[in-house]
């Protein structure tokens, strides 16, 4: 199994946790990540049913290469603890913790998770935790949250809850959450972790989705959550690097491999100094272009 940090996260498909038809097909659409949702997509009187269903699907269904993430309910609800007790032993790639507002809450989740892991003799470094920032308080604390634990390797903005917490309209222009988006991105970048954008609700508006995805890519998001499989390809298309960028990344990476083999640490490509961040960036570009890094020769 891949470790959580090895996934590229251009798209993350939400799948309602109590819907067998959607759960069983979730793996075939090519989303980078799958979010099996026990939280908002599940009615209050079906929380137990969804939890049991998702647990069974995690164990028996085929999800191919996708990152599997389970969104549990907040630990302050009557459902959160039961969710963790059922899901943590199954060690999906990540647990997604919603409405994260403070590092104290995060600590609480981490300690419950680790307690469960201890009980099942599971290591503490396999499964990642993704924090969702969905309230004004969470946005203000996001820098601390993002850097609080090595288990947190991605954060996400939850647009619908955030606009309602802020008491602003959830318009398509995204003006209400623009500051939050940028603040959250900056916090993630500061800690060098991934950051995912919220969903685009109108599944029939392909152009709107494309425009929004282009925008959030520009301001620094790693990828975007989607609610319908039809949205995946559009998000991926936006994230596919241009041929020119791929070619440049290839030159850098090949030079890096060549110099590494020769034991040289710092070198130049196209007359420009290449250091570690430049190489990492090139690697990201190549992987976004679906190029297998292992197949590259110099």
């Amino acid at each position: 199994m891949k470790k959580t940090k090895e996934f590229k996260r251009r798209s993350m498909l939400y799948i309602p946790g109590n819907n067998p038809a959607m759960l069983q097909q979730g793996g075939v659409y090519g989303a980078d990540s799958l979010l099996l949702d026990l939280e908002d997509a599940v009615a209050l009187n079906q929380k137990d049913a969804a939890r049991t269903l998702v647990a069974n699907m995690l164990q028996h269904n085929k999800y191919y290469d996708a990152e599997l993430s389970v969104r549990v309910n907040h630990i302050d609800t009557p459902f959160g603890l039961a969710d963790l007790e059922e899901i943590v032993p199954l060690q999906p790639h990540t647990i997604r913790f919603p409405k994260c507002e403070t590092i104290e809450q995060l600590d609480k989740v981490l300690s419950i998770v680790e307690e469960i892991e201890n009980k099942h003799n599971l290591p503490h470094n396999e499964m990642g935790i993704h924090a969702m920032i969905e309230t004004a308080l969470g946005v203000m604390n996001v820098y601390d949250i993002a850097g609080h634990s090595s288990r947190v390797d991605a954060i996400t903005i939850g647009g619908q809850d955030l606009t309602s917490d802020m008491k602003v309209a959830a318009g398509k222009d995204g003006i209400g959450i623009d500051y939050a988006r940028k603040r959250i991105v900056m916090a993630a970048k500061a800690h060098r972790i991934d950051v995912m954008d919220t969903v685009f609700a109108d599944v029939d508006d392909d152009e709107g989705l494309r425009k929004e995805t282009e925008y959030i890519k520009k301001i620094g998001f790693t990828g975007k959550a989607v609610i319908n499989p039809r949205q995946i390809d559009i998000v991926h298309e936006v994230y596919i690097p241009s041929e020119k960028d791929v070619a440049k990344a290839m030159r850098i990476y090949q030079a890096y491999l060549k110099n590494k083999a020769a034991g040289i640490g710092v070198f130049a490509v196209d007359k420009k100094m290449v250091d570690k961040p430049v190489v990492e960036r090139a690697m990201t570009t190549l992987s976004l272009a679906d190029i297998d890094l292992n197949s590259i020769e110099y």
């Binding site: 038809a21 959607m22 009615a43 009187n45 609700a201």
Partner: protein, 355 residues
């Protein structure tokens, strides 16, 4: 995940909210579905994630009714979401669930796994799902079957309470038939509870050895098959006629064959427009299916003074015990004046119900 599989939101409507009612009416009116918030316990509205109204359905006891899905979502999972969501709650309380709907939806509901137990085109059909289905009821009927009887009759009675009129009708049927099945309406919507009504009939027919008492479950003149009967102050209408036909189709499809019934006895109805409408439909429908309808003039004390249960209840209200004495068997009278009847008598005095 097919084209037709949506992740709908199920919203419980507030029956006091004029906004919610307007939303419901908009779609029920569009498809000409009767909807009256006073005749439902609960209504749900199905919405898309964008808030588009997809459909609605309501419950009334163990009945799911006023089920509508917008044409735009026909063929989607809308029906199954509506029904699943309501059935889950109902199945915790009831042993079986009914859907009352338009016959054109037959494929949809049988596709879901409901069994169609009767149809009365063009408006009504009745579907059932659950533990205690009509098949189980038929097994119960089999235990009541008098196998030797060739010429069997039946009477369906509410007996609220049991009067000399009821007794007279049963006696007449018993004389003219090998066996008489007396169905006591089990729906507990009357002032006298089912158990009391049953006991009073049992006592009142103890002298007749070819009379068998039978429970109706939800299948005969019940709130499920003939809801009009249990509504307050509702005159007869086309709706009543159609509901009566549905009730009679349940009788003909499922009860007549098991008990091999040849005749159905009924008293002439002089008071209640709903009951007389029911009787009229009986005359239209039963002979077609080889069941004779024997309508018997009600027992009267003097001219135009026919005995009826409502009269008895009226008399209880007015403490007119002499009149009661003349009109009910001793067994009923003894009960009415007993300690056990006190709560019922009290209830009658405070009630304005037809039943």
């Amino acid at each position: 995940m097919s084209d037709n599989c949506f992740n709908f939101n199920v919203i419980e409507a507030s029956l006091n909210s004029s906004f919610d009612l307007k939303q419901i009416k908009k779609i029920t009116d569009k498809y000409n579905i009767e909807y009256n918030p006073k005749e439902v316990d609960k209504t749900i509205i199905l919405e898309t994630e964008d808030g588009d109204i997809v459909g609605t359905a309501s419950t009334d006891g163990n009945i799911i009714k006023a089920v509508v899905v917008d044409d735009k979502y026909q063929g989607s999972n809308a029906f199954s979401v509506l029904i699943s969501s309501l059935s889950e709650e109902l199945s915790q309380e009831y042993k079986h669930i009914f859907i009352y709907t338009h016959p054109k939806n037959k494929q949809i509901f049988t596709g879901l796994g409901f069994k169609c137990i009767a149809e009365a085109p063009p408006y009504y059909s009745l579907y059932e799902f659950g533990f205690s289905t009509i098949d189980k009821y038929k097994k119960y009927l089999e235990t009541k079957l008098v196998t030797s009887a060739k010429n069997s009759a039946c009477i369906v009675m509410n007996c609220n309470p049991f009067t000399l009129g009821h007794q007279y009708l049963i006696e007449k049927a018993a004389k003219e038939s090998d066996a008489v099945y007396v169905f006591i309406v089990e729906t507990d919507k009357s002032l006298f509870p089912f158990k009391t009504r049953w006991d009073l009939v049992e006592k009142g027919v103890a002298h007749l050895d070819n009379v068998v008492l039978v429970k109706t479950d939800d299948y005969l003149v019940s709130k499920v098959s003939f809801p009009s009967y249990f509504l307050k102050d509702k005159g007869a209408s086309e709706i009543t006629d159609n509901q009566a036909r549905l009730d009679l189709m349940v009788f003909l499809n499922h009860i007549v064959p098991v008990l091999n019934i040849k005749k159905r006895y009924v008293g002439t109805e002089n008071y209640c427009p709903v009951t007389s409408a029911y009787n009229k439909q009986m005359h239209l429908l039963l002979p077609e299916h080889n069941v004779e309808v024997v309508e018997v003039e009600r027992k009267s004390l003097k001219e135009d003074d026919y005995i009826s249960a409502s009269q008895i209840r009226e008399a209880v209200k007015n403490d007119d015990w002499d009149s009661i004495k003349d009109r009910v068997p001793k067994t009923t009278y003894d009960f009415l004046v007993s300690e056990a009847a006190k709560p019922i008598v009290e209830k009658i005095k405070n009630s304005d119900s037809r039943h």
